[in-house]
Each structure stands twice: as structure tokens, then as C-alpha cells.
Amino acid sequence: MDYSKQIQDIAAKLFAEGKIDVFVGYRMNGFDDNQVPVVINDPKEVPALVFTEKSVFNLSNYLKADHTRNKRVGLVVKGCDSRSLNLLLTESQVKRDNLYIIGIACEGVVDEKGQKMQNCIECIVPDAVVYDEMLGSPRGKKDYIVNADIAGLAVKGLVERREYFEEIFDNCIRCNACRHSCPLCYCAKCCIDQETATIYNGSNTASSAFHALMTWSLHLAGRCVDCRNCEKACPSHLPRIFCINRTRR
């Protein structure tokens, strides 16, 4: 899965035709073979764009930022990114007319160790859903697989589950990176930062982590698209914080 050339061509064309102001894609991170997102507003930077199975980060996250608001944006989306983008569209956060979407028929991305990501193995709709241009051949809908982590938790007893999550809450440092990297957390001011909530949960205690993560998961219930940006962003490497997101998929 290497669409670097195609994406460079499309981006260059879009800039040349004046169809976009900003292009969001991936580039090499400059020190190993992993990639980082890049926000381009100068056509000169286009040759740096790449797309391979290392293109992990969900780029629809960048659509909630100020510098893309009300601008014409070109971006690359995989299956999961496309799902979150759809939610942003249905929840009136972005205007479809402002976007030029390069959809990818995603074959699954790999983590830093080169292993296929768990969410890609379980992905039901790997193709981009809404797009202006599609790269690769769509593979259609796959059968639903129960998430391995959730299935694993489900067979555990109540006490084990409680202890497991206690550990997660205890190790959470409340940096809120999960929230900020989540493409669906676009609120003008997050509810857990507001006075009403902070009166009782302003501190970085495990108690606050419980409150924040529970609220977060309730707000994402039924919306989480399983892109695992949160997991990638967590500095404590808390596994499966996305898990609590997945209630009632």
C-alpha cells in the first residue's frame, strides 16, 4: 500500500488549480521509518507527502483546528478516518464543500513495531466512505468481529474488571491527550474543563481521571470510530482506554 506518488500528484494539482488552501497528509518523521501528519499550505512542500501502511494518525482530527476552519482543505482519509469525518459532517462541524477528500481503500496500517494494528484486523469498513477521489481498489464490507480486548474483559469477573480499570485510572496522568487527539472531541470548551465540572474535579487525581474518562466514554458512546488516536497519544501507554468508549457499538 504505497500511494505517495498519487497523493503528491493530486495535491500538486489541487494547489495549482487553486481548489484548496491547505493540504493535510503524512510525511516521514525524519529520524526513523515512521510518519507524522503534516499540514501544508505551500505547494513547495508537496514532494514531502507520503502514504504507506505506516500512515497511522487519523487526519480528520485536524479539521477541528482553527487553521482549517472555514478553509478549503484537502486531506487523506482511511476507512476509520472516513467514519470520523462522516460524524463531523453530520454533526455540522465541517462543510463538505470545503473539503477535497482523497479516500484510501485501506489495507490496514502497522504500529511502530511493524505489526498490524488490532483495530485494522477488526475493521469492518476499511474503505473510505465519502471521498472525491479513491485510491486503491475498494474491498467492501467485512464481517463484524467482536473486539478482542472487549471480549477478553467480558469474560472476566466484576472484581477483576474493577481492578483492571483501577490500574488504568491510577496510571492516568490527566494530560487529556486522548481527548485532544480524538477527532470527535471538538467542543468549544470540553465539559470536564468547565466550571460546573471543575468545582468537583479540577485536580489531577485518580478520581478526576475516573470522572474524565467515564464522561468521555459516555460522550463517545456509539460514536467512537475505532481509529485509536487516543491510544497512540497516551503518554502513559494506557492500553484500551478506548475500550470504555466502545460501549454499545
Partner: protein, 657 residues
């Protein structure tokens, strides 16, 4: 800092016997914000209320907690006491220590006292977050809009107008009158439908307080109770009503023939037509779908013969706006299309007609001059089979509900048939006879005895042609055997369904409808006339199947409701409504989706101070909001709060326990 006064009531022995009231007062005094706490025998009595009023002044209290009976009982009383003392009445909180403590924990005084203390502490905590609220008063435009000019709309319009309130009556067809105008005689008295209806129609046309807008449709309704703005599209009639005298020269000369809707398509009308001779207004309109002049640009005969020059082929649709305060919806009913009954041969055999077609035939001004005839050969039928519940009460084929009026009108049809064709015989297949109503059972008996109508309890399984006749095979449930009737004519009492445009209308008005398209009332028993949207009322078959007396009763009820609404210059409203904090609103519009009253709309505001770029946020119409709080809980950004039940208030209560 908040200064709270706590007033604990003995309620005679009701509270004091089971809760140690002085202890509750002592506990309350320990709370930091409580500056004054006292108990009294009857807080709701005049001296009790006086204590509250005095303490407010003396201790400069900022909120009041009364620990007494349920707030559902005396909240209003104490609010009044507060406003008498010059304090905002919504700074009151009631701790329910009677229904929730003393009466339900009579065996354990300590536990009841502890609980009462906690309830007081919670109320104090909540009251600290209370805000001053002011009753919302909404100005009222005193004009009612009645949609539909059938008997329901006519009655409602007349009753409202008689109270000297202006009414705009909008009718889709060229004339008012509706279904009732199509009927011959009415059950159970067999008085002539036209005779009782036409005077009312004339009244409508001549009433100084009624503005009749025929041949038009409501296309938009904005606003909220007392302040609606309706857009009405007047369809182009191509006839200038002001100069038209209704002489009829035009339609007599018109060469185009069109099936006549008023007579259920049994005969024809012209492309320029008045629906029926007694039409109100009695002015013709041109049917643009069939007029050759409008379609091909040739003809124009009507214009030639119009002495007044009232024909104007260049007329276009016109949209007019009316500011109104209340709406009565009376869109009436339609007959269900019985085509799914393939075993009856509906559509295959010409001699199967529905009840309204029969009604038109036996009507004195009908296409056959009052005589029922077979559509196939024009002969007068001698044996007529009536089949009831075609579609109604048949979940598999059509509709689960009972259409209510078919039992009665079928009995009427049997009598009318007998009157018109003396040697005829009616066979009636029925499931049950539902004749609940004044004189109704007697009427059915009359049909059976007087006319010799044969009532067969059972369903018809098949109808097939045999020569000229239609063979109706069914079951006689009472004999328990199959019967076959050789019929000249079959009349189907098909189910009545709401007007097919009801769902679209409901969406336009912002009210709800059920799966059949009937508009939903606010409460099936106690609010059968209102809809969930304040200021919109329902009359007649648009809500459920009804006969004429019921329809008229509901229409008059609507009129009473409208008059009540317009009694004052403003409508007072509880201030406990939702408000949006625009800074926090992220514009996801989830609240718009969950609001049961369509009280939330969106607006565009600048992205930042003085910015040109816009963003969309929610906006709540406080006139419409009923204060349920659905939007508050759905709002992920916590941008919406419900006055009186804000998040800080409830959280304060939770952590104060």
C-alpha cells in the same frame, strides 16, 4: 456570600410526631450559608408566611428553604410569600420532609430526623445556586388560523369568530364544505346533510370576522404560541373573484371534460368549474392540469363568454403572510384504497364501488339523480351487498383500528337504498355492529326491521363475476356455513384514513403524528384537543375517525381553547426553560434533534469578537420551550442549562447529601 433562611414546619403533628424538628433546625444552623433557621407549627399559615417575610427583610436573606410538605403542594404559596416580601420567588427551595420523611419513616424517629436534616442540607445547597428568574410573558396576536374547511373547520371558525376574534380559514379546494357536502342524509336522524351544512357555509362567507381563503395551502409556519407567522400559497385560479359573478357561462361553454372529484369520478366536470352548485364561494376556478388554453395556448372560450372579463390566464400562485396566535388543524379524512383486497376483485369488476361513491349516487344532487345504478351497465341494482370493515380492523391487509362510522353509515345506506329502490334487498357482511351513540342502536334496528336488510356476520372470502352478476362468497358466522349472494352491486365500507398530506403538514407545523398519519393529541384522555405544541389544536377526523356530532363538539372545544388562549394580552409562561451559552456551544445540533417541541433552532454568530467568519450555534425559543431538559442532558459541551434545574444546582444537591 449566600445568606439562606431555613424554615422548618411542624405541619401540626404530621411532621413533628415523627421528626425531631428542633434537631433539624439545629443541624441547619450549622451550615455555613444558613444565617437564620426557625421552626413553626404551620409554615403555610398566614403567621408562618409572615415569619418568612419578616426574616427576609431582617436578615437580608438571599434564598429561602422551607422544609415542609411536597413542593407539589405549597411551592406556589411560598413563592408568593417571597414575592410579597420583594424577593424573587424562584429563590425558594422546598425540602419535602413530610411526604419523603415523616410520613414514610414513622417507626424510626432518628432515621427520619437524619433524613430530614439531609433533605434540608440538600435544599440549602441547591438554593445557593438558584438564580433570579422572571416569568416569561409572550405577547399574543389575536388571530386564529383554521386549516381545512370541512365541517370541523367551519364550526371552529364560526365559534371563534363569534367571540369576535378574527379567523383565517384556509381551504385547499375551491370550496369549503368538505366531505359533509358530499353526503346525502346523515345518521341517525336522516336529515339532509346539505340542508344543515350550507347555511353554515354561507355564514362563513359572510361573517365579518372570518377571512376565507379558498383554493390555497399553508406552506410555512414559524414562531410559537401567540406569535406564529403563516405563509399561505393561494393557488392560481385564473379567475378574478372580485369581478366574477358566478353566472356559470364559462363552465357551461368549456369543451374540456374531467372526472368530477365531488361525485367521486362518476360523472365529469369541466376544466373551469365550481365543485358543486352550493359551493362557497360560488366562483369557478380553472383546473390548470386540464385547461387546453393553459396547456397548449389554444381555446380561451371561457374568456370569450365571460361578460365581466374575469378570466385571467396569466394569473400566478400568490404567497400571502398572516400573523396569527393559534392554529386549528381540521384536515379531515380520505377513503382508503381497497386495491389490496385482490380476492374481492377491486379494480377488476366495475360494479364494486366504495361507500362515498354510493353516497353520491343516492344523493339528490348526485350524478345519477339520486338513484343507485350499476357503473357497468347503468341498470338499477336490486340486490346490493355491503361489506364492512374493508381495511379497518384488518392488520394483515390494511389498518388495525376501527373506522368507527362505517357501521352507522352502512345502516344508513341500507335504509337509503330501500327508500330509492323499493324492491331491492341489502345484504350486509359485518364483523361487529358498533352502534354506541345517541339513537344509534335504534337506527341500526330500524335498518334491519324496516328495510329487511340481511345482516350476515362474517367475512367475504371471494367475489367473482358470473354473467352480469357478482357472486359474493362469504361466511355466515351465525349459521356457521358458507353463503353466496348473487349481487348486482357491491359497496365496500373502506377504512377511513387521514388526509395523505397530514405527515407533511405535521412536519410543517412541528407537531407529531402516528403511523397512520393521524395527528397526535397532547394527552389521549385529558388533552384530546391540544397538540404537544402550544397553540395548535386539532378538530375532526385529522386526529381520529369521528362522526359529525363528535367532530362538531371537538371543533367547538378548539374554539373554546383558542378563546381561552386569547383572553389576555399576553401569555404567562413558567421561566424554567433552557438557555444556551453560545461560547460553549459547538454547534453539533444534537439538541435540535431531541427537542420534542422543535423549540431549538440554529443561528450564525461571529467566530470571535468582531470576526467575519461565522459559526453555527443553537438558539432556544423560550416561548416554545416547555422545560423538559432533554437538550441539557444531550449537550456534550454542557452549553445548555435548564433554569431552575441547572447542573450546579443538581450537583450541589448530590454532594450535599
Amino acid at each position: 456570600m449566600a445568606r439562606v433562611g431555613v424554615f422548618v414546619c411542624f405541619c401540626g403533628a404530621n411532621i413533628a410526631d415523627f421528626v425531631d424538628v428542633p434537631t433539624v433546625v439545629e443541624e441547619a444552623k450549622k451550615i455555613r450559608e444558613v444565617k437564620f433557621a426557625v421552626d413553626y407549627k404551620y409554615m403555610c399559615s398566614d403567621p408562618g408566611q409572615q415569619m418568612i417575610r419578616d426574616a427576609i427583610v431582617q436578615y437580608r436573606l438571599t434564598s429561602i428553604v422551607v422544609a415542609a410538605c411536597s413542593p407539589r403542594m405549597h411551592e406556589k404559596t411560598f413563592r408568593k410569600a417571597l414575592s410579597d416580601a420583594g424577593m424573587n420567588p424562584y429563590l425558594l427551595e422546598v425540602a419535602n420532609i413530610r411526604e419523603h420523611s415523616s410520613w414514610v419513616h414513622q417507626k424510626d424517629k432518628k432515621a427520619a430526623t437524619d433524613k430530614a436534616g439531609d433533605l434540608v442540607r440538600m435544599a440549602v445547597a441547591k438554593s445557593i445556586a438558584n438564580e433570579q428568574l422572571h416569568e416569561i410573558s409572550v405577547p399574543v396576536t389575536k388571530r386564529a388560523l383554521v386549516i381545512g374547511g370541512g365541517i370541523a373547520g367551519i364550526q371552529a371558525a364560526l365559534d371563534i369568530a363569534d367571540a369576535r376574534i378574527p379567523v383565517t380559514l384556509v381551504e385547499r379546494s375551491p370550496s369549503i364544505g368538505g366531505r359533509m357536502a358530499q353526503l346525502d342524509e346523515t345518521f341517525p336522524t336522516l336529515d339532509c346533510s346539505q340542508c344543515i351544512l350550507t347555511p353554515k357555509m354561507v355564514d362563513v362567507a359572510s361573517h365579518p370576522f372570518i377571512e376565507l381563503i379558498p383554493y390555497s395551502e399553508v406552506i410555512e409556519l414559524d414562531g410559537y404560541v401567540g406569535n406564529y407567522k403563516a405563509k399561505i400559497r393561494k393557488k392560481a385560479s385564473y379567475v378574478n373573484f372580485k369581478s366574477c359573478t358566478g353566472c356559470g357561462a364559462c363552465w357551461q361553454k368549456c369543451p374540456v371534460k374531467v372526472p368530477n372529484e365531488y361525485n367521486m369520478g362518476i360523472d365529469t366536470r369541466k376544466a373551469i368549474y365550481t365543485p358543486f352548485p352550493q359551493a362557497v364561494p360560488n366562483k369557478p376556478v380553472i383546473d390548470a392540469k386540464h385547461c387546453t388554453m393553459l396547456l397548449k395556448g389554444k381555446c380561451g372560450i371561457c374568456a370569450k363568454f365571460c361578460e365581466k372579463g374575469a378570466i385571467d390566464f396569466k394569473m400566478t400562485d400568490e404567497v400571502i403572510e398572516r400573523e396569527i396566535g393559534a392554529v386549528v388543524v381540521a384536515t379531515g379524512y380520505d377513503l382508503w384504497d381497497a386495491t389490496p383486497y385482490e380476492e374481492y376483485g377491486v379494480g377488476r369488476y366495475k360494479d364494486i364501488i366504495n361507500s362515498l361513491e354510493f353516497e353520491r349516487m343516492v344523493s339528490a344532487n348526485g350524478p345519477t339523480g339520486g338513484l343507485p345504478v350499476r357503473p357497468s351497465d347503468g341498470k338499477v341494482p336490486k340486490t346490493v351487498v355491503f361489506i364492512k370493515c374493508v381495511g379497518s380492523r384488518d392488520k394483515a391487509k390494511g389498518i388495525e383500528f376501527c373506522s368507527k362510522i362505517c357501521c352507522m353509515y352502512t345502516a344508513k345506506h341500507a335504509i337509503l337504498l330501500h327508500h330509492k329502490v323499493h324492491d331491492s334487498r341489502a345484504y350486509i357482511f359485518y364483523m361487529d355492529i358498533r352502534a354506541a351513540g345517541k339513537g344509534y342502536e335504534e337506527f341500526v334496528n330500524r335498518a334491519q326491521v324496516e328495510t329487511g336488510a340481511v345482516y350476515l356476520r362474517g367475512r367475504v372470502s371471494k367475489i367473482y363475476q358470473k354473467g352480469e352478476k357478482l357472486m359474493v362468497r362469504g361466511e355466515d358466522g351465525q349459521l356457521g356455513q358458507e353463503v353466496e349472494v348473487e349481487a348486482d352491486l357491491v359497496v365496500l365500507a373502506t377504512a377511513i384514513i387521514p388526509d395523505k398530506e397530514n405527515p407533511a403538514l405535521a412536519r410543517l407545523l412541528g407537531i407529531s403524528y402516528d403511523k397512520y398519519g393521524y395527528l397526535s393529541e397532547a394527552h389521549p384522555k385529558l388533552r384530546p384537543v391540544e397538540t404537544a405544541k402550544a397553540g395548535i389544536f386539532l378538530a375532526g377526523c385529522t386526529q381520529a375517525p369521528k362522526d359529525i356530532p363528535e367532530t362538531v363538539a371537538q371543533a367547538s372545544a378548539c374554539a373554546a381553547k383558542v378563546c381561552g388562549l386569547f383572553a389576555g394580552d399576553t401569555i404567562k409562561k413558567d421561566p424554567m426553560v433552557s438557555t444556551v451559552n453560545k461560547d460553549f456551544c459547538s454547534g453539533c445540533q444534537n439538541c435540535v434533534k431531541v427537542c420534542p417541541y422543535q423549540a431549538i433552532v440554529t443561528e450564525d454568530i461571529p467566530l470571535g469578537h468582531g470576526a467575519k467568519e461565522m459559526r453555527t450555534v443553537a438558539k432556544i425559543n423560550e416561548g416554545v420551550c416547555q422545560g423538559c431538559g432533554s437538550c441539557v442532558a444531550i449537550c456534550r459541551s454542557m452549553a445548555i442549562n435548564l433554569a431552575g434545574f441547572t447542573d450546579p444546582q443538581i450537583i450541589n444537591e448530590i454532594v450535599a447529601i
